[in-house]
Subunit: 430 residues, 2 copies
């Protein structure tokens, strides 16, 4: 970093600190901003700390840096993205992530060079920032679950795999760091952890740039209005890190990946970022036909009657279903040894008659509470032979909330209850 | 009990003890047997013990008593039941239960009147007999799940409800007794327990008589060959307490309760035991039509597509299904907060692409093991946020074992693992 740049940025930051308006600063310091990439900021900040600028002061400026660099961050191609559009919200999430990464970088670098006396409060701050960063999963999840499938459908597989690999590495690093900072650390180890945290901050910032400069412009070229409409709809299940002030109104019906007729249009190729142009040219699109004749449309997928039967037999629980008339209509033979044996002679039987008279009242009250919508489920624990099982009774409703019947789900918890420590030993990172 | 009867039975038992053949004894003592009901035997035995006959000797005779009283036990109406027929096997189970009840009675009565010194070995024996008796549930279960539904279908409801109530009481008493004899008991309490055990023995024997004299003859009159064929078929899932040496070959196709056109034939009424004749006369049969237009026949029941969807949404687990081509075909939004969010954009996606590259190998190996039939399932435990979840992956196969795909079942075990003691406190008797 040349001395001149550093001096310019320093005076810029000083003006920010004095409360100057970012927009007027942008005009005044346009020349410097053109020369300094956001990736250089952490390096500059580190030098400022060395020169005696307090960490807390720099932290407070991170917000403004991101605003200053917005023009750089959002590439020219993305200027037309409407407010509230999934891509607009993802870009805004990235501003937030970049700010968090910058804050992490400032604190981590300060801690890495801190004296033993200064380490403790900085470690506390590092811990809070790392904990805060767990929320970035919400951002990556949308990219991995909502956007990548559209690329895969077009035969573009390598880019999403590589990107997911990096996101995964960042998250694993974050989890490991969170574990390490759980308790107090000796200053030496705290400085060690800080170096790794600075590395994580760098990786997160790089991911922001990679998305903003390559992935998002490519998606903006490739995806149709209908595809974005589907992304917007499904994104509601995952949520955003930023507040959605205005909802985007798409002008097309939602189109899910399996519904697309995948191809990359000739003209589109040229508008792709160079990193994408090469991979998108020679690929074979994925033309897998999901929906087959006779499939049940279940809203969240398509199954043949044969698959429905097979799935019930593959569950680690036994289910029994009584319809809205309280008649047993279906039971499953699960995969594991049954807790309660069911036979086909109970099909059509009144639910109350499936239990001893002693339990009639309990069964009736449970079913009535479900039918009236007073509860979604009730659970009971009981012993069968030497085993402890949970009997979970839940209301089955159609998509409009109309009562269709009661489901009994029986599951054996004996092993888990007997040896919870053994189970916890089996926990792995997935 | 008059003295003369007692003397006759005593000499009968003496002859048995000397090894005489039950069949020749039956001829010789025909007159006594006609006068003594099996229910009187425990009373006679108790007197024999009082008169100094050792308990162990009487216990050994219980087998033979039952053989002696077989003619009495199996009413005349049931003589034509073919070997291996469900009713034949139920009758044979009842001989066994009667023998167990008699043994329990002998030991319990001896213990009730035992000196402190004699109590310990008798308590040990009582414990073993009670533990053995748990198997009677297998007998009752067949009556409750296989036979009662055919009566209910004919509108005969009170008899099965009352009978189930008594069976349930006996089982609850048995469970309570088993709990009380778990550890050592002071002689006073042991004698107390013994009195209750003698009561249980009486109840079990009464149930045998009630079934053999009333329930079974009525069923023999009412049920068709096809209905017995269905009972025989479904009984295999429950099993028998006795060995099935010869399988009965029905001359009709199985008919389940919901498949019957229920009515009690005019002529049949007269052949019913008197206890049944009154209730069977004025009743309204149950004509509930189970199968509806458009229902899926799942082998163990009938569901509308709407009910299938509703059931998946009512499960306390989330499932995701990838078909035989390893394509995501379905996922469910379960009832509880999701561990892994799923969106419709993953429908049709390659299973491998639903995970970070780091897990590709694990996913591939797991699915291949299921596909090749090397395993029915694999389970993994992992942490998501602060929660511990089980990821259960099982093979979905059709009824002929052909691979249809892989099912992922995700379930939150956090609470159970955190507070196993709290869960165990919730256990109730169902």
């Amino acid at each position: 970093m040349e001395r001149r740049k550093l001096e310019l940025v320093k005076s810029l930051l000083k003006r920010i600190h004095e409360g100057a308006d970012p927009e007027s600063l942008k005009k005044e310091f346009g020349e410097v901003l053109a020369e300094v990439s956001p990736a250089e900021i952490p390096v500059i900040e580190q030098q400022l700390v060395k020169e005696g600028v307090p960490v807390q002061e720099i932290l407070r400026m991170c917000d403004i840096h991101v605003a200053l660099f917005r023009d750089y961050l959002i590439s020219r191609e993305l200027k037309g993205v409407p407010e509230g559009h999934p891509l607009d919200l993802l870009l805004r999430e990235n501003e937030l992530i970049l700010k968090w990464a910058e804050q992490l970088s400032v604190v981590a670098n300060a801690l890495a060079n801190a004296s033993n006396g200064e380490a403790t409060p900085l470690l506390q701050q590092l811990r809070a920032l790392l904990s805060n960063l767990r929320a970035v999963r919400t951002h990556y999840r949308k990219i991995q679950m909502l956007l990548f499938p559209y690329l895969e459908r077009r035969g573009i597989v390598a880019v999403p795999r590589v990107l997911w690999g990096r996101e995964d590495q960042a998250i694993l690093k974050l989890r490991a760091l969170l574990k390490r900072v759980e308790g107090e650390l000796p200053p030496e180890e705290a400085r060690e952890v800080a170096k790794e945290a600075a590395g994580l901050a760098r990786e997160l910032a790089e991911l922001v740039f990679r998305e903003n400069k390559i992935l998002f412009p490519a998606l903006w070229v490739l995806l149709t209005e209908g595809e974005w409409a589907a992304v917007a709809e499904e994104a509601r299940k995952i949520g955003y890190l930023v507040e959605v002030e205005r909802r985007w109104e798409p002008k097309a019906e939602p189109v899910l990946p399996y519904q697309t007729e995948p191809r990359v249009e000739e003209g589109g190729l040229e508008r792709l970022p160079p990193e994408f142009r090469a991979v998108a040219a020679g690929v074979e699109p994925d033309r897998y036909k999901l929906v087959r004749e006779g499939d049940l449309d279940l809203g969240t997928g398509f199954l043949s009657p044969e698959e429905v039967g097979g799935i019930f037999r593959a569950l680690p629980v036994e289910v029994t279903f009584a319809d809205a008339n309280d008649r047993v209509r279906f039971y499953s033979d699960g995969l594991l040894p049954p807790a309660f044996v069911r036979t086909r002679t109970i099909l059509g039987r009144k639910l109350l008659y499936c239990h001893p008279p002693r339990l009639e009242r309990l069964v009736r009250e449970t079913v009535e509470a479900l039918r009236r919508g007073e509860a979604d489920y009730r659970e009971f624990w009981t012993r069968i032979g030497g085993r402890v099982v949970r009997v979970f009774i839940s209301a089955v409703r159609d998509e409009n909330g109309r009562y269709l019947g009661a489901l009994e789900v029986v599951e054996d918890f004996t092993e888990v209850l007997r040896n919870p420590e053994e189970v916890l030993k089996k926990v792995v990172v997935l």
